[in-house]
């Protein structure tokens, strides 16, 4: 993705610069920007190192683990059909906490593990698209409701401190680089709230009330894990 974007930007700059007669400006911009990137990194290094140092303390002191456990009720609300002891829950919690604290590098691995676990959960529920043995069908896997909810939440981008933005702002001479923290939290809350409402509506539609009486082998298997599977029959909320 980035390869294409970068190439288009550079090629477009040279072509458009040649067409509009701005070649000398383009030359200067190329050289100046490279130097600017270095001075920017020097400012960033300080802010990011400070933040990561604090986060290391939080981790060692067990604070992050505590937070992860603290959001259990929220997870139960958002993902009622994931069995309580399922590893997917843990990874989702770790991903959300890392996101909130701005630990960008730490949230992706947990997020990917969460997706893998959600895929396994679908296989446990007997979803034919997710069974490895299922011939060729796995090419057309549809996302489960949990996957959709998890990704939408992730993209709605809950974040407490936008560390990078603050670093950039201070590099470019902002009088008050941290002035954006509170409005950013407010804006994040709005986008996340909309995301939650949207996911809940989608879940409600997917949990078809007419299918509660019939029991597929898949839902019976899931019964042992989740007290909810009786009412919300079927995998991923979609008709098998």
């Amino acid at each position: 993705m980035l390869n294409a974007i970068w190439a288009v930007m550079i090629l477009l700059a040279v072509l458009y610069g040649a067409a509009s007669g701005h070649m000398s400006e383009v030359t200067n911009a190329a050289l100046d920007s490279a130097g600017e990137a270095i001075s920017l990194c020097i400012t960033m290094a300080g802010v990011v190192a400070l933040w990561m140092g604090l986060m290391e303390i939080a981790q060692k002191a067990g604070l992050i683990e505590k937070l992860t456990r603290g959001i259990a009720p929220f997870l139960k609300f958002m993902f009622p059909r994931i069995p309580k002891e399922h590893p997917a829950r843990e990874y989702i919690a770790a991903n959300i906490i890392a996101n909130v604290l701005g630990l960008g590098w730490a949230c992706t691995p947990a997020g990917l593990k969460a997706m893998e676990e959600l895929a396994k959960l679908e296989a446990e529920r007997g979803n034919p698209e997710y069974l490895e043995a299922g011939t060729g069908k796995s090419r057309n896997r549809r996302a489960s409701n949990e996957m959709c909810t998890f990704l939408i939440l992730n993209i709605s981008s809950l974040q407490l401190i936008p560390v990078n933005m603050i670093a950039y702002r201070s590099q470019y001479g902002s009088a008050n680089p941290t002035a954006i923290i509170a409005p950013a939290i407010a804006a994040t809350l709005v986008s996340t709230l909309i995301a939650i409402v949207y996911c809940k509506i989608k879940d409600r539609i997917a949990a078809n009330p007419f299918r509660t009486s019939e029991k597929s082998p898949a839902s019976r298997a899931a019964d042992s894990g989740s007290p909810f599977s009786d009412k919300r029959n079927g995998w991923g909320g979609k008709a098998v």
Binding site: S33, E36, T178
Partner: protein, 175 residues
């Protein structure tokens, strides 16, 4: 200015106080631990230096070529009616695909308008409350080998739109 600005001022000191205090009380060697984390942080920054050079050069060249001015005159009327400065239009689109390419555009806005201007504040808040929709979706769904993403894209774009509207409203209110 107002309550939001005041909250922004105190949140970092409180957080630092709480983290260091909690660590100290739970017998963590706070200073040594801090140093280790800070070192990891430096490594992260060093890793992104080449990315920043590549992207800042590309955006800088594109701006110098006059391409953004042309785009601005084209998109100006549309953007103005939505309360968005024209400079932000390329950013809104690029941000859906690549967060590092978007960073290049953000820094360009900071350089030309200043981080405390309307465009600068709006950009800062916007970047803090939206995520790279297409990139995140492709990486995450790849991990689960899912090809049909169902309502994820609609939900993600809806959340992004909500964040964008909220950013415009909040920035207007603050400045």
């Amino acid at each position: 200015m107002n309550a939001l600005a005041h909250l922004s001022d105190i949140i970092i000191p409180i957080l630092i106080f709480f983290i260091v205090g909690y660590g100290f009380v739970s017998n963590v060697k706070v200073y040594e631990t801090f140093l280790k984390g800070a070192k990891d942080g430096l490594k992260i920054v060093v890793d992104i230096v080449p990315t920043l050079i590549g992207l800042l050069v590309a955006v800088g060249m594109l701006r110098a070529s006059g391409f953004f001015d042309m785009l601005g005159t084209l998109l100006g009327p549309v953007a103005a009616s939505a309360g968005l400065p024209t400079q932000l239009m390329p950013l809104l689109i690029v941000k859906l695909f690549s967060s590092s390419a978007a960073t290049g555009l953000v820094l360009d806005i900071f350089r030309t308008s200043g981080p405390d201007s309307y465009a600068g504040m709006l950009t800062s808040i916007l970047m803090s409350c939206t995520e790279t929709v297409f990139y995140t979706m492709s990486v995450y769904f790849l991990a689960a080998k899912v090809t049909k993403t169902r309502h994820t894209l609609t939900g993600a774009l809806l959340a992004t739109l909500a964040g964008t509207v909220a950013s415009v409203v909040l920035t207007r209110w603050m400045l």
